[in-house]
């Protein structure tokens, strides 16, 4: 009796917790609201199965508890029932999978007009690079990284000259413009994760990974690293700010191009040389 009742109460309690506990996802800030929808669909289907099976177990435990004089039923198999259950499960599973694959297809298909931004990860922090006027991110190589060229841009690549280098952990993106994050790390694995955006992808040294999204509401969001990257993993935070056009332009205007940066550091070097001469 107590056992049946506890299984029953656990089931009811789980449902109650699901609907009335305060812990739920953050308000979505990108076009990936359909990921939330697939989760909800999964909840309804799996939730129904969970409740049905738990209630069935509770009922059995209550109804068929041991009595010395009674014999259990002797029925080793029931082919019809088994095949019905198998088909019902297969259909349920297909109903979960199909919408999942549709959304995944959208997730891995980047729209052509997406604005490309490089997210640059290192132990333990974030930097960003925008493509500049030509809309093309210049090529990079880890060998080129030094104090004057923190992003390791290949000097011979003309596309890199106008790239805007954001040497800070704060990125601004424009509301309603699709953006493709080109994810790059110079050391270990990282993962560029903003809970409100829903998207995620590991960053792997040696290759550029990516994902895309369209920000749908203005706001100030925290960036977290979602792939373990060593002792500082938990502190590897950044910010993404979704702006309307005006604010975005203001921020963009403040960023400096690679060319300017090189010139500046050259000047510095020259100054230092002059100082040394004196």
């Amino acid at each position: 009796m107590i056992v049946a009742l506890s299984i029953f109460l656990i089931t009811i309690g789980s449902i109650a917790f699901h609907f009335w506990s305060p812990w739920w996802w953050t308000e979505v800030a990108s076009n990936w609201g359909n990921m939330d929808d697939t989760i909800l669909l999964t909840f309804w289907i799996t939730g129904a199965v969970f409740v049905a099976i738990c209630f069935f177990v509770a009922y059995c435990v209550w109804k068929f508890s041991y009595k010395k004089e009674r014999r259990a039923e002797y029925k080793p198999e029931d082919k019809k029932l088994e095949s019905r259950l198998t088909w019902a499960t297969a259909i349920g599973v297909a109903a979960l999978l199909a919408p999942g694959l549709v959304v995944w297809n959208q997730y891995v298909t980047v729209p052509e007009n997406a604005y490309k931004v490089e997210v640059f990860a290192y132990q333990w922090g974030w930097k960003y690079r925008l493509p500049g006027k030509d809309n093309i991110l210049g090529k990079t190589d880890i060998k080129y990284i030094n104090d004057d060229n923190p992003f390791g841009l290949i000097l011979e690549d003309p596309n890199g000259k106008d790239d805007l280098l954001v040497d800070a952990d704060e990125l601004h993106v424009l509301k309603d413009r699709p953006v493709k994050f080109e994810l790059r790390t110079i050391d270990v694995l990282h993962n560029f994760y903003v809970p409100q955006f829903r998207g995620k992808m590991d960053m792997v040294p040696g290759i550029i990974t990516y994902y895309w999204l369209t920000p749908t509401r203005v706001g100030d969001f925290e960036v977290l690293c979602a792939e373990y990257c060593g002792t500082g993993h938990y502190a590897m935070r950044g910010r993404v700010i979704v702006d309307e056009e005006k604010d975005y332009k203001k921020w963009e205007a403040k960023q400096i191009t690679f060319e300017k940066m090189l010139a500046k550091s050259q000047n510095n070097d020259n100054l230092q040389l002059v100082k040394k001469d004196k």
């Binding site: 789980s14 041991y66 198999e77 999942g100 110079i186 040294p205 925290e222 002792t231 938990y234």
Partner: protein, 609 residues
């Protein structure tokens, strides 16, 4: 069969020798033995009896106690981590120690506790007994297997004492961070971890070959494959999986050892490590992930399949009912085992591998849900119209059904590639895998220990203590892991030493962390009760009858209980039926042991098996 062959074989039975002439159909006929009776090694000194024992039952207990001892360390580590998560203000741990504890906890629990306990422990104890063999096929290799495991554990523990401490790379040991500065234990602890795993695989291979060959070659006469208890089917299939899966781990470990010690670049691309350019070039970190998960996913089933098998037997015995759909159950175990080699990259949807793989692996992963669901249906249909005894093994089995169901269903979230994107690397994943491959198999282990304890000691474990242990463990672990899924929905990432006051995390999430930690401490402490029961009952427990649960399988039918060396006295048993003939209409008792000849139960309307 003919009588002429009989006297050629050592294992002939009295009955066959006395059999009537060939022409009369003999209802008690069993196939002839194909191998001569096994010659056993008999120990002659203290060392060979108690230390380097070659008796599978004894080795099983050695394996189990070593695994449980190591698991206790894993449990204590989980306490330390949870206290840090709930009360970050205490300044209790350094981030590096936190990550070291996370890593060691994970590896210990998955490999050194669960794998060793199910296969090394229950495999050794049950395979020869349930198959009707005298011992494993190669007792000496079996003994070596255990001692290789001991050395592996010692090397693992030694990593706590090397400079830099144990590795803090996470139990998945992903390079490059596992072997670069920035991760604790990157040049000492990690090497010992890799060596320990290599030793474990070597030792396990010795044991695994034994389990497979024993099941295939040494079954009693009449014990066809489709009459084997599901426990043996589970352990057997899991061992086959392990034989295919562990080599992937082995080469992964070897390659990473070379990367770290000799500067090769299997997994290491050109990279900058904390401002310093390394000499590696051209390696692929994702290659390691493929190797790791080609092992890692079957590993889930290496733990789950024995649990599936054992729980099927516990449910059947303690509800006095045939297991429902035995043949489907066998094929589901085999099918899950085969499919488990085609789903590994569902751990890598967002790893940066070609995203188009997602379609394939999501599909295979959701297909595997079908045989798994069949198993759940058949367990609950076994209860239907049963005669359910709420003994300790049954309580734990019911607990298993609820937790496994919960954890299995959340697997449908994570396996479905799109749903995985927001949830991966969050506490949803942590909750899912603890529920499905932590708590669920451990509940089965407890049920199995309460069930087979009399077989080992001849005494029963204390029922009251056992019930307290059950309720705290079952309700407590549900209270730990069910709410934890919702932290994942909020977006709390896993492997965070401290979450600070992130703007998107409601402070109540931190409150939930405190609640979970308190539950962890209570559930952990309840295990002391179990340990007390385990050791005290060996002396103080009530003496057990010969077949206390009135089970059918062979391990309870030995001439002595507990069975002695060689298990069967002079004659090996003969098997006439499957182990699930409970409550057969027309039979006098509500159970018919596998070795009871049909001529003794004439009235029983047994279905052919």
């Amino acid at each position: 069969m003919s009588d002429e062959n009989d006297h050629k074989l050592e294992a002939k039975s009295d009955y066959v020798a006395d059999a009537p002439s060939v022409s009369t159909p003999d209802i008690d006929a069993v196939p002839e033995a194909e191998l001569p009776d096994q010659e056993l090694y008999h120990s002659h000194s203290w060392w060979t009896t108690y230390v380097f024992s070659q008796d599978a039952k004894y080795i099983g207990i050695q394996y189990a106690l070593t695994a449980i001892g190591t698991g206790l360390l894993g449990l204590v580590l989980s306490w330390l981590m949870r206290i840090q998560l709930a009360f970050p203000g205490l300044g209790w741990l350094e981030p590096s120690s936190y990550y070291q504890f996370v890593t060691m906890h994970g590896m210990i629990m998955v490999v050194y506790l669960l794998t060793a306990l199910f296969l090394g422990g229950f495999g050794n104890l049950l395979i020869p007994l349930m198959c009707g063999a005298r011992d494993m096929a190669f007792p000496y290799v079996n003994m070596l297997s255990y001692w290789a495991f001991v050395v592996a554990v010692l090397v693992l523990l030694a990593s706590f004492f090397v400079p830099g401490g144990p590795t803090g790379a996470g139990w998945t040991l992903y390079p490059p961070q596992a072997i670069t500065a920035g991760t604790p234990g990157y040049n000492g602890g990690i090497i010992l971890m890799l060596i320990s795993l290599i030793l474990f695989v070597a030792g396990f291979t010795m044991g695994g070959l034994n389990y497979i060959i024993t099941v295939l070659q040494l079954r009693a006469r009449g014990m066809t494959l489709m009459r084997m208890p599901l426990t043996i089917w589970g352990i057997f299939t899991a061992t086959v999986l392990a034989m295919f899966a562990f080599p992937a781990l082995l080469v992964g470990c070897l390659m990473m050892t070379l990367d770290s010690l000799l500067g090769t670049s299997f997994f290491m691309p050109a990279m900058v490590s904390l401002g310093e350019t390394l000499t590696h070039e051209g390696g692929s970190p994702i290659l390691f992930q493929h190797l790791f998960w080609f092992f890692g996913h079957p590993e889930v089933y290496i733990v789950a399949l024995p649990a599936f098998g054992i729980v099927s037997d516990l449910l059947s015995v303690h509800s006095r009912k045939t297991i429902f759909g035995y043949r489907m159950m066998v094929w589901a175990i085999v099918g899950i085992g085969a499919l488990s080699f085609f789903v590994w990259a569902h751990h890598m949807y967002v790893s940066g591998m070609n995203p188009w793989f997602g379609f394939f692996f999501a599909t295979t992963t959701l297909i595997i849900a079908v045989p798994t669901a069949i198993k759940v249906y058949n367990w609950i249909l076994t209860l239907w119209r049963g005669n359910i005894q709420l003994s300790l093994p049954m309580l734990f089995s019911l607990g298993f059904i609820v937790t496994f169901l919960n954890g299995g269903l959340t697997g449908l979230f994570l396996g479905n590639v799109t749903v995985d994107v927001p949830l991966s690397d969050t506490y949803f994943v942590v909750a899912h895998f603890h529920m499905v491959m932590g708590i669920a198999p451990i509940l089965v282990i407890f049920g199995a220990i309460y069930h087979w304890y009399p077989l080992i000691t001849g005494r029963m474990m204390d029922e009251t203590l056992g019930k307290i242990h059950f309720w705290i463990t079952f309700l407590g672990s549900y209270a730990i892991y069910f709410p934890m899924h919702y932290q994942g929905f909020v977006g709390v990432p896993r492997r965070y030493f401290e979450i600070y006051d992130s703007p998107y995390i409601d402070t109540s999430t931190l409150l939930l962390n405190k609640f979970i930690t308190i539950a962890v401490l209570i559930v952990g402490a309840a295990q002391l009760l179990f340990l007390y029961n385990l050791f005290a009952s060996a002396r103080l427990g009530k003496k057990s009858e010969k077949n206390p649960w009135k089970a059918n399988s062979l391990e309870w039918q030995t001439p002595q209980m507990p069975p002695e060396h060689g298990n069967w006295g002079k004659e090996l048993p003969k098997v006439y039926r499957w182990p699930y003939d409970f409550s057969v209409p027309g039979a006098k008792e509500d159970y018919i042991p596998q070795n009871q000849p049909p001529s003794e139960i004439i009235g029983a309307k047994v279905e052919k098996t």
